[in-house]
């Protein structure tokens, strides 16, 4: 299981080697998450239309190693955009992947860009 977790590391925008197209913006439900596949990774993509932002994180919740974060509800805690894991409601910041509300776990985040209605996620591999 740790092997799976090690596949996910935060990619910053300047480290991007490949902007991978994952679909059209309209394929992604508003104010919700959806899952995309890139190589052997599952990435949760969030169309946070309420604040006009897109986020991408690993789909794997590091708490119990389930591929579920894209199913979680999004929102904010003290103005930090977040996702709540549907399994046990662990909260993670969408900005930097850090655990919120007394949760020491951390998830990887990926840059997202929208061009001509297409959604691209940035990867370094």
């Amino acid at each position: 299981m740790q092997e799976i977790l090690s596949r996910y590391e935060t990619v910053t925008e300047d480290a991007v080697n490949e902007w991978f197209r994952v679909g059209e913006a309209t394929d992604f439900p508003e104010n919700s998450g959806a899952c995309i596949k890139y190589k052997n990774k599952q990435i949760a993509v969030y169309n946070f239309s309420r604040i006009g932002k897109w986020y991408a994180t690993q789909n794997l919740c590091p708490h119990k190693m389930e591929m579920v974060l894209s199913l979680g509800m999004i929102g904010d805690k003290d103005d930090i955009p977040k996702v709540a894991c549907p399994m046990h409601k662990k909260n993670f910041s969408l900005e930097d992947g850090s655990g919120l509300g007394g949760n020491d776990l951390k998830i990887a985040t990926y840059p997202v860009k929208i061009e001509n209605g297409n959604v691209y996620i940035g990867f370094s591999d």
Binding site: M1, I4, V22, G23, D27, F28, P29, E30, N31, S32, A34, C35, I36, K37, Q42, V45, F48, R50, I51, L60, K64, M65, E66, M67, V68, L71, G72, M73, I74, G75, D76, K77, D78, D79, P81, K82, A84, P86, M87, H88, K89, K90, N91, G101, G102, N103
Partner: protein, 837 residues
């Protein structure tokens, strides 16, 4: 330097000095205290102890040196006889004049002497001061020389009267207590506790005479007896009058302060009289039209006056004054607190009485059994402190409140609330957080609310099972810190669920986004989104297909998410009745999709292990065979469990299966604050376990008994009888009203049992609402429910017929691949997810 003159050096006058001396501002003031009695203030409450040791010093509040040490000038044996408000001066009997900036009147009270013929005779005393006692002692000594078995009576069976009774007994006289009322301590005790106390007092030699109105005092020069009526005479050689108090308010009267009709100087909540430079405290102060004859309120008044004078003007006398008392009277514990006598209309009384041990305990609890309103303890007041605290703080009491007063050997247990848990008690076993961790986080200021506590201590962040207790602990601790506890949905909505329900309904709000814009702030979270989804569903019967983004994952995918991220499928099997053909369909579907199958506790079949993209295919086959969604994933009606009833069972009284099917079909799809389960049993053997459900019907002779607000789960609760012997139609009518009322008013994720516990007035109140229509909303509730019933449609059928809605049943947006992360292992004849590592 400002000059304060305190008139009166009793207990309250002294307390004013003591509190003042503690303040740093005291150095800016000079205090002069006048006491009429020859000695400094003493503890009048324990006056009868003077007989044991005749040591006035032992009763002193503080020695004379204390006053000097604290820069307070104490002038005893000097009565103040006039106040000149225009000059701000006072004069004393010896014609000395003193000027003041602030005047504090604490002259207390004197004994009330009723106008009885012969009251002026020798041998008649009042019981108030050490001088009174010395007079009594001298007279008693003389009596005993002349008459070895002399008798003394005390007029008044109140607190002080009984103390006086002990005093005359200690003097070696035969004591008699004469009381006008039909009970002792009429202000503190009820009739039964008075009888217990009387037995005890008689056992130690006091003679008690109740319901006696004294006509006259007999004798020529000296008292020889008391006459109550014709031929009703008590021979006594001495009489102590203890028939109440009168405020020593002459000073107020002569200088023209506002006075009460029956005496007392009128004060406001700053303890100020009608002259802003003159304060009155203790038994002369008429506050809220009351004279408070207890020392504790007097001390509070002293503290208020001190703060007012030094400029801390926010300190005010509270509106409600606690008149609870506990004392040891002639070796007998007597206590009363809160409302000792309470009419049955306000609550229930629980009474424990054991005359052989001279024990009496009564507690009064609210009708819902949740709050302690007051009580009386005679013979054993060891529980007083805890009971008084529970009463003062409105703490939770046990479901069976008798535990609070039953002797330990009879199943009673020390119980208060979550706060009574030891600090070391582990509240959250997942994160090993103790009660102390949670409370300290609040008391030490690290946390201010529940979410802070969760963040700092991590309590509830594991399985969450401890959440109710943590919420209680946080609320109780905050309350004990004097902070307001307001239940709001989450940081995005400053309203509770019921308020939001009304706002959304009245304003015809279209969706979650609009609600957030109108009534909320921020961008929502996993608490408010599903809570509002539930509200929308219970107002308009909309299915989760309309706003999938605000649904809990289960509702979003109309299936229960399981341990490995796969889903389970539960078709509705109303009442648990299923045909062989339906069983075959379920079996075939399960086989085709390789699903693990299990019979559920709600008499239906659960199919586990479906992947998200398989859900529509599975449901298409089930719907084609006539099945509907079982809503096993929703906070909604689950099942109505039934026993086989009169159609087959030889004991059955009514057709429980038919009724269960009808009810389940009536409420299917109904969203509610939490899941709802029902049960219908065909006889009192109760094979459907209906009393373990949110609503249960049990067949009895003449109809159905309707029980509500039960559940299994972590805190099992039996449902409580709401109504008896109902016909089918009335049972459904009451159910409509009950369910709709719960749906409207419960907090999110609050099941019916805790809802009822929190409902003010409890089951009796619920009966009034549901049966007697006390709120006048019964018809509205029925119509709302009928509206929801009419709008039902199967949400799975809705979803599979709509390609737009089908889009979400896919694991990847950018690939038709399935989740390759799933690993199953075999178990018995079936499969299960690989265990968490």
């Amino acid at each position: 330097m400002k000059h304060i003159i305190v008139v009166g050096n009793g207990m309250v006058g002294y307390k004013f000095c003591e509190k003042f001396a503690e303040k740093s501002e005291a150095k800016n003031f000079k205090i002069t205290v006048f006491g009429e009695e020859p000695r400094p203030a003493y503890d009048r409450v324990h006056l009868s102890e003077f007989f044991e040791n005749q040591d006035a010093k032992a009763l002193e509040m503080a020695p004379a040196e204390w006053y000097a040490d604290n820069n307070i000038e104490l002038i005893t044996g000097e009565r103040v006889c006039d106040i000149h408000r225009s000059k701000k001066t006072i004069t004393t009997v010896s014609d000395q004049e003193f000027s003041y900036d602030y005047l504090v009147l604490a002259t207390g009270s004197s004994a009330f002497v009723p106008p009885i013929k012969g009251v002026e005779k020798q041998g008649v005393f009042v019981y108030r001061t050490i001088e009174d006692l010395e007079g009594m002692l001298a007279y008693a000594a003389k009596l005993k020389e002349e008459k070895p078995n002399a008798k003394a009576a005390v007029l008044g069976g109140g607190l002080l009267g009984l103390e006086a009774g002990k005093a005359v007994k200690d003097m070696g006289l035969e004591p008699h207590i004469v009381e006008f009322a039909n009970k002792l301590m009429p202000r503190q005790l009820d009739l039964r506790s008075s009888q217990v106390l009387q037995l005890k007092l008689e056992s130690i030699g006091l003679n008690i005479h109740l319901s006696k109105a004294t006509n006259q005092i007999l004798g020529d020069k000296f008292i020889t007896g008391m006459e109550f009526g014709e031929d009703d005479v008590l021979d006594v050689d001495m009489l102590v009058i203890s028939a109440g108090i009168r405020p020593r308010d002459e000073l107020g009267k002569t200088c023209g302060l506002d006075m009460g009709v029956r005496g007392g100087i009128v004060v406001n909540n700053k303890m100020q009289t009608s002259d802003e430079n003159i304060y009155a405290i203790g038994e002369i102060a008429l506050y809220n039209q009351m004279i408070y004859g207890l020392v504790a309120p007097g001390y509070d008044m002293a503290a208020v006056a001190v703060d007012q004078i030094i400029g801390k003007t926010e300190t005010l006398m509270p509106e409600d004054i606690d008149m609870s008392t506990k004392l040891k009277l002639i070796g007998v514990d007597v206590a009363s607190f809160g409302e000792p006598f309470m009419p049955a209309s306000k609550g229930h009384s629980i009474i424990f009485e054991n005359k052989t041990q001279y024990l009496y305990k009564r507690i009064n609890v609210s009708h819902d059994g949740k709050r302690l309103l007051g009580g009386i303890l005679v013979g054993d007041a060891t529980d007083y402190n805890m009971l008084h605290q529970i009463y003062l703080n409105g703490m939770a009491i046990p479901e069976d409140p008798s535990q609070l007063i039953l002797p330990a050997s009879e199943g009673g247990a020390s119980f208060g609330s979550v706060l009574d848990l030891p600090d070391t008690a582990q509240v959250c076993s997942c994160e090993s957080v103790s009660k102390g961790d949670i409370c300290c986080s609040l008391t030490e200021g690290e946390s201010n609310n529940l979410s802070d506590v969760i963040e700092k201590t991590k309590a509830t962040s594991g399985c969450g099972g401890c959440k109710p207790m943590v919420v209680d602990l946080v609320n109780e601790t905050l309350k004990s810190l004097g902070k307001e506890v307001r239940e709001v949905l989450c940081e995005h909505f400053n309203f509770n669920r019921q308020e939001l329900y009304d706002l959304i309904k009245v304003n015809k709000v279209a969706d979650y986004e609009e609600a957030l814009n109108l009534f909320g702030e921020g961008h929502g979270c996993e608490i408010c989104k599903p809570a509002l989804a539930s509200i929308f569903a219970t107002i308009t019967m909309e299915t989760p297909n309309r706003q999938p983004g605000i649904q809990d994952t289960n509702d979003r995918f109309l299936a229960n998410i399981q341990r490995n991220g796969t889903y389970s499928v539960v078709p509705r099997v109303a009442g648990g009745e299923i045909t062989p053909d339906q069983l075959i369909v379920i079996g075939e579907v399960a086989k085709k999709y390789d699903l693990y199958t299990k019979i559920t506790g709600g008499q239906r079949i659960d199919l586990f292990g479906a992947q998200i993209h398989e859900l529509p295919m599975i449901w298409k086959e089930l719907i084609d065979a006539g099945f509907e969604s079982g809503h096993a994933y929703g906070k909604s009606l689950r099942t109505v469990k039934s026993c086989v009833g009169s159609t087959w069972c030889r004991y059955g009284m009514h057709e429980s299966v038919t009724f269960a099917i009808d009810i389940e079909n009536r409420y299917k799809g109904l969203r509610s604050p939490h899941k709802l389960k029902g049960g219908v049993s065909g006889c009192i053997r109760e094979c459907a376990e209906a009393r373990g459900k949110d609503f249960g019907l049990i067949a009895v002779d003449g109809g159905w008994n309707l029980y509500v607000c039960g559940n299994g789960g972590a805190t099992p609760k039996h449902a409580i009888l709401l109504a008896e012997q109902l016909d089918d139609e009335t049972a459904v009518k009451y159910l409509d009203r009950f369910l709709m009322y719960y749906i409207r008013t419960a907090a999110p994720l609050m099941r019916t049992a805790p809802w009822l516990e929190k409902l003010e007035g409890g089951i009796e109140y619920l009966k009034q609402v549901v049966i007697e229509d006390s709120l006048g909303i019964a018809e509205e509730l029925e119509n709302e429910m009928q509206g929801l019933v009419n709008k039902y449609e199967c949400e799975w059928k809705q979803a599979i017929e709509n390609p737009e809605m089908m889009k979400r049943f896919k694991h990847f947006v950018n690939s038709d691949d399935t989740d390759d992360n799933l690993v199953f292992v075999p178990m018995r004849e079936q499969k299960m997810p690989k265990a968490w590592s």
